[in-house]
């Protein structure tokens, strides 16, 4: 990898010299020539193999090489040494910049690592008050989208390439011709950006008649709307999950798909953390239709079809609110949930018993009236001010998409400006959006991809401008976190393809000055943080504006709105096999479809179903049986490839077809449909993944719908790829779990849950190793002894660690077919097991990665010494030495080693040619073997992918070729960097030891990304380190310890906190996993130690 210096700033005055031919090529004349060379329609993306597409790719890479990317790469022959070293820049030493990942209304503050001008790793900003540096998978993976070769790269008018300056001229022309703004409409995405709000205001002042509309296909702010109504002022609820002792979630997946999940996880994990048997921990009740991460972490889970969620809520309200004048209506609403009376009553009792320490949460799918009821319940529980606070926020003024569509249909909109979003794909079907959009005379669209909303030959407005949107890592901006703190979005790289930001477009249309995004943000900041340059610099440096977080405001509950809403609420029809309920849900990875072309996310297994590259029609086993689409093979999990029946789902006459996925723990008579798949126009990665559930979604039933029917199509040819086929732990003590009560009685329960040690005739254990531990002598030389502890009680299974690891360690994606063959490459995976009855099981999650065994079975069987141990206890892998016998993987009891079956890093993104021999194939018209010989690094990658693929790689980690085994290294590169830094600092002294106290011990990528702080890594030789302390806890256990592999990764056993008064608790006082263990052959049974506790566990 060549070293790339950062871009030198242009002199502000004086003559400008071009430094290279490339820069000369950047003159407008040249750009125009490049773009004008292609005939009309040259930028169409439809046929991936046409000559036109090839020309497009070539032109794109030409642009890339010549025009767009001078900021990050230069041809090697034009690199000169620095005459003057730029300040604070050292070759090879990464730089870190604070920025933020904008996501609807709650930005995620970040620190992004940049290596030689390329952003290469995203990390959470730990400096914000309350933050721990945790992130979520979406933010982690957003890095890959920056280098997506399929992103929109040029401005087009009616599909034809246009010069960017012409596009910008057009926009500024709008500001002169728009008059008072009548006929001008803006369609925006949700955002809390202060700059955008300021520009909106300025434009509204200039064009008072302009229409403003906001559309989010999955809006997560129902809670805000309800609170604002209930309190008669615009407020935003802010939950304090760490303060809550009893939490009830009503179809609210606050751990997974709700807004601000990473912060929820952080707080929830705090409330669940156990440091000893005397610690208290919170209790979570979940009422839900799908099986979600919240359900996985729940102590009591009630599965009900969506038509019953409101009924359960009403029942809960009846118990909690006491006698009110709404009783009759509530009782009517609650009637269908009569079967769950005992459950709800016990739950309500628990809530009431923890007054001021309890909290009820309603999910985004619930209707507004239900949210109002949730507010009332929280009021009644005394939660306000304790476990939930209300922060002032700006009132939403913008109109809805439906209103905009109506205005378009009657011709009230001449110029439509769509900034972000993809309404042509995700608008409710009844709005008929593509046709409505075509009614406008002019459409200006700022989009990150050439997608469904981009110009289309079939349905298009008279004129449509498509502008490439800048990635947030390329653009200036600002945002607010969930608690209102202002955070900057600052670029780490020049826009790779000349992308434009939303702020820029708004400023141009409004004819506002200053118009550059930097100036806009700077200007906004003057209003927020004052004019002083120091404040601005501190803002950029820290990544947030201190003191800008909103403070809680006192609120007075006004039940008027609630009464009105409740009165209008009708009980949903009961779900039956002929009239199924439907849940449309935000996908854990695709979100609403915006991450559809992100390979890391496509390959990230869904936290619960473990499906990759697809969505599916989720059905409960019982419903699948009733519908005749049940497959036994699915249940026994004998195969990684599932050819499940494809079914047709009909809802109000609209139909879609998709493969069935039988999901244990789903509510019966419910169909779960993930949004965000089945895109018509997307990139090479997302093409052909899943089916489009938006096609069923109408304005009146955005999240829940009733009366669907499912019909087997008889087609079983569709394959689903999952990373984990077997559901049950088979009673094995892999994830060890107890109830809180059992844990208090027997704090060492985890150590008892292992197979009985064999004894000799004298009753002595005979599991002593024959030979001394090979690491014992080495330990004396090692300065540190690295180890890891994973707290299963904190881990919620969110999968942020998986993407963080993938990004840090250059782990390739392998494609759906490979995942179907279990050839995925993730170094850390999240195992999810079900226990208990298949209809209503409990689930547990466990991160599994290289355990760094001290007596590693993989090491002794490698014939070429490619995997060996170092003095500090790391099981290290020498990729260059590996010949790929794969014996190490066979001998690894944890099966955490991953093999490069193909040259994944050197194959095209769509992976359809993995099986194609380079001896007989061509890429870009060149014989692949020759291509490979010319540049082995590039391999068979098409030129455009190669140009971008190499940018995302971490230069500190080898990119592995085919035939090589790989695995978790405990982020060895980070350890080495920390050691080097310590040695540099130590100079002549011998203080080179990394200590946690001084903050010199590095964090592994997974640890850093974990919002729950479940993963602790550190030096076991330091008794004061967190990892040493974690390992001293009584819950510590080693997976498969009887093999005497002596893993350095240990786990802290999981504890569930069931309420003994609950009806399900009376039948099953223990977690299902420990019940299974006790009954199964892995239980120590007679003769086990601590007989006093037998039967108890």
């Amino acid at each position: 990898m060549k070293t790339i210096p950062p871009q030198c700033p242009e002199p502000e005055t004086g003559p400008k010299y071009w430094r290279s031919l490339d820069q000369l090529a950047g003159t407008p004349e040249f750009r125009q020539w490049v773009e004008r060379e292609f005939p009309a329609g040259a930028s169409e993306w439809t046929d991936p193999f046409s000559r036109r597409n090839f020309v497009k790719i070539m032109s794109a890479s030409f642009l890339l090489a010549g025009l767009g990317a001078t900021g990050c790469r230069r041809p090697v022959e034009k690199i000169y040494p620095f005459a003057k070293m730029p300040e604070n820049y050292v070759h090879g030493v990464p730089q870190y910049f604070a920025t933020a990942f904008p996501s609807r209304r709650a930005a995620l503050p970040l620190v992004v690592k940049s290596s030689e001008g390329r952003p290469i790793k995203i990390e959470g900003n730990p400096d914000l008050p309350g933050s721990n540096g945790g992130t979520d998978p979406l933010a982690q993976a957003s890095l890959l989208s920056l280098y997506d070769p399929d992103r929109a790269m040029r401005c087009t008018r009616n599909g034809n390439g246009e010069n960017k300056t012409e596009a910008l001229d057009f926009l500024s022309g709008l500001s002169k011709t728009a008059g008072d703004g009548g006929g001008l409409a803006f369609l925006l995405e949700q955002s809390d950006s202060p700059s955008r709000a300021r520009l909106q205001q300025a434009i509204a002042a200039k064009f008072p008649a302009a229409r403003w509309h906001v559309y989010e296909p999955v809006a997560l702010d129902a809670g805000r709307a309800a609170a604002s109504l209930a309190y008669n002022r615009p407020v935003e609820p802010c939950y304090k999950l760490d303060q809550a002792r009893v939490i009830v979630s009503l179809d609210c997946d606050f751990i997974g798909s709700e807004a601000n999940a990473y912060a929820n996880i952080r707080d929830f994990a705090k409330g669940r953390a156990l440091n000893g048997a005397d610690d208290a921990m919170s209790r979570l009740y979940a009422v839900e239709s799908l099986f979600t991460l919240t359900g996985l972490n729940a102590d009591h889970r009630l599965r009900v079809p969506p038509s019953l969620v409101v009924a359960v809520l009403a029942k809960l309200a009846l118990h909690v609110l006491g006698a009110t004048d709404m009783d009759a209506k509530l009782a009517e609403l609650a009637a269908p949930a009569q079967a769950h009376e005992a459950w709800v009553a016990a739950c309500a009792k628990d809530l009431a018993a923890n007054r001021g320490k309890s909290l009820v949460l309603g999910g985004y799918r619930l209707p507004l009236a239900a949210h109002l009821l949730v507010v009332a319940i929280n009021e009644a529980l005394g939660a306000v001010g304790q476990t939930v606070e209300f922060h002032p926020t700006a009132a939403a003024k913008e109109g809805t998409l439906a209103e905009l569509a109506a205005a378009l249909q009657v011709g009230q909109v001449q110029t439509l400006v769509i900034l972000g979003g993809n309404p042509a794909y995700n608008a409710p079907v009844d709005l008929n959006w593509p046709q409505a959009q075509a009614k406008a005379k002019t459409v200006v669209r700022l989009g990150y991809y050439h997608d469904e909303t981009s110009w289309d030959a079939a349905t298009h407005a008279a004129t449509q401008w498509d502008l490439p949107m800048a990635h947030y890592l390329e653009s200036w901006g600002d945002a607010r976190t969930a608690d209102g703190a202002v955070v900057p979005i600052q670029p780490l790289i020049e826009p790779l393809f000349g992308g434009i930001t939303e702020l820029e477009v708004l400023a141009l249309i409004g004819g506002l000055t200053p118009g550059s995004p930097y100036e806009i943000v700077r200007e906004t900041f003057r209003g927020l943080g004052g004019d002083e340059e120091n404040h601005w610099r501190k803002f950029l440096h820290d990544g947030f504006l201190a003191g800008s977080a909103a403070a809680a405001v006192p609120v007075r509950h006004d039940p008027a709105e609630l009464k009105r809403a409740i009165a209008g609420l009708k009980a949903a029809p009961a779900a039956t096999v002929a009239s199924l309920d439907v849940v449309f849900y935000r996908d854990a990875k695709m979100d609403d479809g915006r991450h559809n072309n992100n390979g890391w996310l496509q390959e990230l297994p869904d936290p619960i179903t473990k499906l990759t590259w697809d969505n599916a029609v989720l059905l409960s086993p019982a419903t699948a049986k009733e519908l005749g689409v049940f497959t036994q093979e699915r249940l026994t999990g004998q195969n990684q490839k599932f050819f499940n029946p494809k079914v047709e789902v009909t809802l109000n006459g609209r139909k879609i077809t998709g493969p069935v996925w039988i999901q244990p723990g789903m509510a019966d008579h419910t169909v779960g449909l993930a949004l965000g798949y089945g895109r018509d126009k997307t990139g090479r990665v997302g093409a052909g993944t899943g089916f489009n559930a938006y096609k069923l979604r109408a304005s009146d039933a955005l999240y829940y719908a009733w009366g669907a029917s499912v019909k087997d199509t008889g087609d079983k040819s569709y394959e689903l790829a999952t990373t984990q086929s077997h559901w049950s732990m088979e009673g094995r003590p892999v994830v060890r779990e107890a109830s809180l009560e059992q844990y208090r009685k027997n704090p060492k329960f985890a150590q008892r849950m292992k197979p009985a040690d064999p004894e000799d005739t004298h009753g002595k254990p005979i599991v002593e190793p024959l030979y001394p531990n090979p690491l014992d002598s080495a330990k004396a030389n090692g300065l540190h002894q690295w180890g890891m502890s994973i707290d299963l009680n904190r881990c919620v299974g969110c999968s942020a660690c998986m993407i963080a690891c993938q990004s840090e360690n250059n782990v390739p994606i392998v494609g759906k077919e490979m995942v179907g063959k279990s050839r995925e490459m993730h170094w850390i995976r999240l195992d999810r097991y079900y226990a208990g009855p298949v209809e209503d099981p409990q689930a547990v999650a466990q991160p599994m990665l290289c355990q760094h065994c001290e007596a590693a079975p993989c090491e002794s069987v490698c014939p070429v010494n490619a995997t060996s141990h170092d003095d500090e206890g790391l099981n290290v892998m020498t990729y260059n030495r590996c010949v790929g016998t794969r014996y190490c993987s066979n001998n690894c009891p944890y099966k955490v080693r991953r093999f490069n079956f193909f040259d994944y890093n050197r194959h095209p993104l769509n992976h359809q040619f993995l099986y194609r021999s380079p001896l007989v194939a061509k890429t870009d018209g060149e014989w692949e073997l020759l291509r490979w010989l010319k540049n082995p690094d590039k391999g068979n990658l098409p030129e455009d992918e190669w140009q971008l693929a190499k940018l995302v790689k971490n230069p500190d980690v080898s990119v592995r070729m085919r035939g090589v085994m790989e695995k978790c290294s405990f982020c060895l590169q980070r350890i080495e960097q920390a050691k080097i830094a310590a040695k540099v600092k130590a100079r002549d002294t011998d203080h080179i030891r990394l200590t946690e106290k001084e903050g010199t011990v590095p964090k592994t990528a997974c640890q850093q990304a974990c919002p729950a702080e479940a993963i602790v890594f550190g030096d076991m030789a330091d008794p004061a380190s967190s990892v040493s302390k974690a390992k001293e806890q009584e819950r510590t256990y080693k997976v498969l310890e009887f093999l005497l592999t002596k893993p350095r990764t240990t786990y802290l056993a999981r504890v569930r906190n069931p309420n003994p008064a609950m009806p399900d608790s009376k039948e099953h006082p223990l977690p299902y996993t420990s019940e299974e263990f006790n009954k199964g052959p892995f239980s120590p049974g007679e003769g086990a130690e601590e007989p006093a506790e037998k039967g108890a566990l």
Binding site: T636, G637, Q638, N639, Q640, Q724, S725, H726, M729, E730, R732, V734, P755, A756, P758, M818, K821, S822, E824, D831, Y833, Q846, M848, S860, V861, C862, P863, V864, N865, R881, C882, V883, G884, T885, R886, Y887, S889, N890, N891, P893, Y894, K895, R898, F899, N900, F901, F902, L914, Y915, R916, S917, P918, L919, L929, R962, G963, V964, L1040, P1081, F1082
Partner: protein, 486 residues
């Protein structure tokens, strides 16, 4: 010359007389003519046809290797967690087949089993070609084939030295030693016969060709004396190798900690299995050959019967080993091992599964194919009627080979596919490349074997003559008497 016959030797009573090893009282000259005639006669049509097929299949073998090398190991059906598949199965299978030859030629030689002489040459050739087929797999199964030489202790500037703790390393030495000694032993035994071919040659090319490899053999007393000493030494050297090579191959599995692999019974069990499959293959090859080449008088029904008896013996040892594995799995009390034997192997959907109330094992069919072929089939050899019916023996010998292939399949696949952590569990299925690669090695094997029977005396002429009655001076027909040198 009558005075030579002055000492009268009583012929043994009829009931003590053994069935002669060469039938129909064939004379020595007939033997030479018949065996050399296989080479000297017209090329039979069936040979040409078989050779064409074999050559095609051998081409397939190399095309598959080329495809594999250029594209990646992913073209095979291997997947997490089953990282070894057809390649290792085939490797162990071919190595097992390679056992019979050296066993017959070395151990039976040391045990003075004279019946070995009719079959040892072909069996040894089979051994060599089988080991060649086997040797391909470890080389090509690795991820970076071009670096395979790193497994050999070759001093190099990279400072890479093999790790001698790894059983794969032991394999390298065991197999290469076995191959080398087997080739030497085979070639040693060939020298007198090559000289015969040289002396009978009618064309210059043959004369030079055979002459070159006959190493100037004249049949002098000194030659014979040296030859027999060398033969004895090589037989002594080969004998432990017969036991070691498959023991070490078995250690590839036994050294690991995987249930189903981690078993101390493996070395003897593998050797027994190897001998079993080796004899199975010898029977498969020689029963059609003796018919096609009209060698029924040299490879007699008695030979076949004896081989059947050996097969029965070692087959029963194999069956005992299977039973012992199950016993230990139960007796050890290790639940992981119990799970493996019951639920990955034995549980079928009809009897065992329902009996223990468990779901059928994904590969139950493979396990039961193995049991039927390796435990039930050899028991038929208790019956003389079966042993003497060539067609039946041929059919059963094929089942023996099938069974032994499935034994390796069961060991490799069923142990790996569902091990300790259920989240890892997967399912292995071969791809077309796996299957063609396997079939391709048959092409390689038969190409060599067909060339062997066409160009090299497939029966040790000198040795067979040594076990004829004529060669026994105490036999009424033997010794140097008139008419004795037929």
């Amino acid at each position: 010359m009558d005075d030579h016959a002055s000492i009268k030797v009583q012929a043994p009573p009829v009931q003590l007389e053994r069935v002669p090893l060469v039938g129909n009282q064939r004379g020595l000259g007939w033997l030479t003519d018949r065996i050399a005639g296989v080479i000297e006669g017209e090329t039979p049509a069936w040979w040409k046809m078989c050779f064409a097929i074999s050559l095609t299949m051998m081409t397939v073998c190399f095309v598959m290797i080329l495809y594999l090398m250029s594209t990646g190991v992913g073209v095979w059906g291997l997947q997490h967690p089953v990282m070894w598949g057809y390649a290792i199965i085939n490797f162990v299978w071919w190595i097992g087949i390679g056992h019979a030859g050296t066993l017959i030629s070395a151990i039976l030689f040391l045990l003075r089993q004279k019946w070995r002489t009719s079959i040892n040459r072909a069996a040894e050739a089979m051994t060599i070609f089988a080991v060649m087929c086997a040797g391909i797999f470890p080389l090509i199964h690795i991820g970076r084939i071009w670096l395979g030489w790193w497994l050999f202790p070759i001093p190099n500037s990279n400072g890479i030295w093999p790790q001698f703790r790894s059983p794969l390393m032991w394999d390298v030495f065991a197999v290469s030693t076995y191959f080398t000694v087997s080739v030497l032993f085979w070639y040693m035994g060939l020298i007198p016969d090559l000289a015969v071919m040289r002396d009978r040659a009618k064309t210059k090319i043959r004369k030079i060709g055979y002459g070159l490899f006959a190493l100037g053999w004249t049949g002098s007393n000194r030659h014979w004396s040296n030859y027999e000493k060398a033969y004895l030494i090589l037989a002594g050297l080969s004998t432990p190798l017969v036991l070691s090579v498959h023991s070490i191959v078995s250690l590839d599995f036994a050294v690991s900690q995987l249930p189903g692999w981690h078993t101390t019974i493996f070395p003897p069990y593998f050797v027994a299995g190897a001998v079993y499959s080796g004899f199975g293959m010898v029977l498969t090859l020689l029963i059609p050959l003796r018919r096609m080449l009209k060698l029924e008088d040299i490879i007699t029904v008695r030979h076949v019967e004896l081989m059947c008896k050996v097969t029965l013996g070692v087959g029963s040892i194999v069956g005992y080993a299977y039973a012992m594995e199950f016993f230990i799995a139960w007796y050890s009390g290790n639940p992981y091992e119990r799970f493996l034997f019951l639920r990955n192997r034995a549980a079928d959907p009809f009897i065992i599964g329902p009996m223990f109330h468990v779901a059928p094992a994904p590969y139950w069919w493979a396990f039961w194919t193995m049991v039927i072929c390796n435990v039930v089939v050899p028991q038929f050899f208790w019956f003389k009627k079966v042993r003497t019916s060539m067609l039946t023996v041929f059919a059963l010998s094929i089942l023996v080979n099938v069974g032994m292939w499935f034994e390796r399949f069961v060991i490799v696949i069923t142990s790996l596919h569902r091990d300790f952590l259920p989240s890892n569990w997967g399912f292995y299925a071969p791809t077309w490349v796996d299957i063609l690669q396997y079939l391709g090695t048959f092409g390689l094997f038969f190409t060599f074997f067909l060339l062997f029977i066409r160009y090299i005396p497939l029966i040790a002429i000198a040795e067979v003559k040594g076990v004829t009655p004529q060669a026994d001076p105490h036999h009424p027909l033997g010794g140097a008497k008139v008419g004795g040198q037929h």
